[in-house]
């Protein structure tokens, strides 16, 4: 057995028990488990929407108009007689998709940037982190609005714009992790075996820095979803005919005096999802003991 294999094996064993411990700790945290389950249900509903939605997305019934919740329309209908549950399901698809995809964009940029800066070090590191500092000081909310105005309001741009501002913290966390990991023996071993830096970063360092990354990712998704809802509420995010929870809330707010359910149900959907993600994120932070394992 070569040294590398031994090192890998030991690392894998350590990793397995660490993850196992974390899993046991997480299972004991009732709020986090509930959050995880609710979130899983939301995701399944979003994926299955085209098959399980009680009405078609475009289906209108102008004669019906806005009706409160009933047996035929569990959450009521909007002023065009569209089924609110169907709207919320389709809106959830977009809201969750923005949350996950924009976070993934942020994750890829942030992890790569931070890992390279932390691993290479020296002048390149300080230039790269200076850049992050400058971006940090920018009022990014204003910049996203600016981007949406200048380049038109399309959903792809929304993913990129949100992802492009959310990667900064990820890069900082990753850099701190890498700086401490690269001092350790298994990385030295990999270096002395002549592995190229890219292989060391992606195969040896990133897997060992997963804990904080997972925690921060879980906490980034709700803030991204909030950002999307915020923009859609202002009319600068998702555009009709597509819909999202933020857009549904903004419609609901316009007519809440007569039809309060149009505000309350989309609001509940968004709040419950954000709650679940935050509880799950906090639970993961405790389970993976992220603050304690920073050294």
């Amino acid at each position: 057995m070569s040294t590398e294999e031994t090192a890998l094996l030991m690392e894998a064993e350590d990793g397995a028990s660490l993850w196992h411990d974390a899993w046991l700790r997480l299972k004991k945290n009732r709020a986090a488990v509930t959050g995880g389950v609710v979130l899983a249900i939301m995701v399944v509903l979003a994926v299955l929407t085209p098959w399980i939605a009680p009405y078609g997305y475009e289906a209108q019934n102008l004669d019906l108009g806005a009706t409160p919740p009933s047996a035929a329309h569990w959450l009521g209908t909007d002023i065009f007689g569209r089924d609110l549950l169907t709207q919320i399901l389709y809106g959830g698809r977009i809201s969750l998709a923005v949350g996950f995809i924009a976070t993934a964009v942020a994750l890829v940029i942030g992890v790569t940037w931070g890992a390279v800066a932390g691993y290479v070090g020296g002048r390149i590191d300080s230039v790269m982190m200076r850049f992050v500092d400058i971006l940090y000081a920018l009022p990014f909310m204003i910049f996203i609005i600016l981007l949406m105005v200048v380049f038109g309001r399309n959903i792809l741009l929304l993913f990129l714009a949100i992802g492009a501002v959310e990667w900064l913290t990820m890069a900082r966390i990753m850099r701190t992790q890498v700086q401490s990991l690269r001092q350790q023996e298994f990385v030295e071993a990999a270096v002395s075996l002549g592995l190229p830096p890219s292989a060391i970063i992606f195969k040896h360092i990133i897997p060992n820095a997963l804990g904080p990354i997972i925690v921060y990712t879980t906490l980034t998704i709700p803030s991204v979803m909030l950002l999307e809802a915020f923009l859609s509420f202002l009319g600068l995010g998702i555009q009709p005919p597509q819909t999202s929870w933020g857009l549904l809330i903004s419609y609901g707010a316009e007519t809440m005096e007569e039809y309060p359910w149009l505000l309350i149900f989309p609001g509940l959907a968004l709040t419950i999802t954000l709650f679940s993600l935050n509880f799950l994120g906090d639970g993961l932070r405790d389970a993976l003991d992220v603050r304690g394992s920073k050294d």
């Binding site: 000081a137 920018l138 105005v149 509420f233 202002l234 809440m256 005096e257 505000l263 709040t271």
Partner: protein
């Protein structure tokens, strides 16, 4: 201390410069000029308009001219409201937004610090769980949902408070301020709880207790100062968030402030207005980050000693 302020100022200058440059070129690269809009305009008129707004010059000259105007504090004319300059529009919105932000922040600090300190005094009991659970709700309940809900409950069903406006009817400033401030109250509660918990476990607090000081003096005179440093450091970023939040709150409650003007400018594609507002708001945000950093450094005895030694 002076040296620290000086260094932070030096760091702020490139940031503002980047903002101005990036915004300028972003806005100029937007497809379609501001005057090829709905109505067909005579070519001569269009040319005259473009000359008036210096759009006939090459891009880099426009940029330099804009920078020149900026150094005189001139943000240029508005495209959509001819005859009104961006300065005038911002000048009319700023006091309103500043007042709204001030009330929201005062509300957030008062409620947040009280709840956080209260929770930290008895960690992991009901006295901790209830305020922290409410803080979680505050964080997960976005302002654009909380605002309409508050309007629905206190404005429509109970009919206690006006549902829109600013300074027109008695009490119409309450709902917007609470809407804008509550998320920050929640963050501040969590930060001050964490900060207080850490400080309360330190040796000098044990010393103070061992001296026989009453608990309220231990908390107020000894722990609060250190425990609130994270809160002070949060105020800078919170200010940026408050401005962004004012976009929503001013839209919901129809308040004629900076946020509403910005959103309207974004809708109308009023490019000079967007450019001017972005530059103005960014400078404000950078400035407030600077102030909160300086205050946090001043409150932290270790940092203070360091700067006393070197300055």
């Amino acid at each position: 201390m002076l040296k620290f302020i000086f260094w932070r100022l030096l760091q702020a200058i490139p940031v503002i410069f980047v903002v101005i440059t990036a915004t300028f070129f972003l806005v100029r690269s937007a497809p379609g000029g501001p005057f090829d809009s709905e109505k067909a305009v005579l070519p001569e008129v269009k040319r005259a308009l473009e000359a008036q707004y210096k759009l006939d010059l090459p891009l880099h000259e426009q940029y330099l001219a804009y920078l020149g105007d900026l150094t005189n504090g001139d943000l240029g004319p508005s495209f959509k409201y001819p005859g009104r300059s961006v300065n005038e529009i911002l000048g009319s919105g700023l006091p309103v937004t500043a007042e709204l932000g001030l009330y929201a922040l005062s509300f957030a600090l008062l409620i947040g610090v009280l709840a956080g300190v209260f929770a930290a005094l008895r960690p992991n009991t009901r006295q901790d769980y209830i305020p922290m659970g409410m803080a979680m709700i505050g964080i997960c309940m976005p302002s654009f949902l909380l605002g309409p809900l508050l309007v629905l409950i206190f404005g429509i069903y109970l009919d206690w408070l006006p549902i829109a406006g600013w300074g027109d009817l008695p009490g119409d400033k309450i709902l917007p301020s609470v809407t804008l401030g509550s998320a920050y109250a929640a963050y501040i509660a969590r930060l001050s709880r964490a900060g207080m918990l850490e400080i309360l476990s330190q040796d000098y607090i044990r010393t103070a207790r061992a001296k026989g000081l009453p608990e309220w003096r231990v908390v107020i005179q000894h722990a609060l100062r250190g425990g609130l440093i994270p809160v002070i450091a949060f105020l800078g970023p919170a200010f940026a968030g408050l401005l962004a939040g004012s976009f929503v709150v001013e839209t919901i409650f129809q308040i004629p402030g900076l946020g509403r003007f910005y959103v309207q400018a974004a809708f109308n594609r009023d490019y000079t207005m967007i450019l001017g507002t972005t530059v103005f708001l960014s400078t404000l945000i950078v400035f407030f980050n600077l102030i909160s950093d300086v205050i946090a450094a001043w409150l932290n005895p270790r940092l203070r000693a360091q700067f006393k030694g070197s300055a």
